[in-house]
Symmetry: D3
Subunit: 69 residues, 6 copies
């Protein structure tokens, strides 16, 4: 399988909270991961991001798509 | 700072590719991470996700927000 | 009305499931549709997408915006 | 493969436009499709959506994830 | 027109930067606006959000959909 | 703090509706705001957006990330 996404992170389910329409699942990441972000070049320049900078990568849970083989 | 997001992953910038309007940045994740996903309860049930299941967490790079202190 | 989006698909409501904060609506697509995706050029190349390739277009329900005239 | 998403639409690549960082791909949907949307219950009620209503489903191309087997 | 979205903000185009595949448009918001956010109840509780708290609402430009009548 | 996002809007919490898994928060925008959108160049051209055009900026509540210092 090939995905049109730069982030595909191996993980293991830790807990499941089932709601009426939406549910929340937590995972432990099992492999050392690499991640990628696309942002406007303007944002890149105003943040002045360069190699070795330390950042926090914030992702709303709604944007994480679990895939199970 | 407190973020209204379940995923906040520590990482270090590895490379930057600057485009005309959009840019692509790659990161090494530096800490063992936990992640979370919100999905419909219907999807949860059709995937039959339960603790210890192995999954792939797919995230489009556009949904990853870098924050630098 | 003109929308800043490449996908505008005609559909008919099939069912509604109302939850406390979020609700899930299902639709039948009524017209033959064309769709579009934006992805990183890196993902495009690693997938080696070319005309006539068969793919699955995966979209989380949260990203689908219904508009009613 | 099982996806944590309510929309998985069969399609065929029609054209590819490769940019410096981002690329745009167009598809023909090959099967009659069903789609799903998650929205706030407040939006549902203010739209007064009910079975057989005709709507337009608007999706930004960036939210469409192609998967190729 | 009725939109399945809680945020619909009146604005005027200020500048346009056209790129090869993606473009960036800036707007002045012309009316006093109200905004809404959906987040996990877990995030809400860990942020301890309550009336009159001052916050920053961060939105990636890719999630803003312009509509023109 | 620097964010990899073009929109960072100052606001004050107005109301909170707590659900089982997801919650909805409303805000009053307290400062005159500027906003930005990224869309495909194709969409830009088909909308024929130019300075001084009046538009509606539609954003699903799920894409709004509150940050509290």
């Amino acid at each position: 399988m090939k995905y049109g996404a730069r982030n595909a992170i191996k993980a293991k389910v830790k807990s499941v909270k089932k709601g009426d329409v939406m549910s929340l699942v937590k995972f432990d990441v099992t492999d050392p991961a690499e991640m990628a972000s696309v942002l406007t070049t303007e944002s890149l320049e105003s943040m002045d991001l360069k190699p070795n900078d330390e950042v926090l990568l914030v992702v709303k849970a709604i944007h994480v798509l679990p895939v199970k083989e």
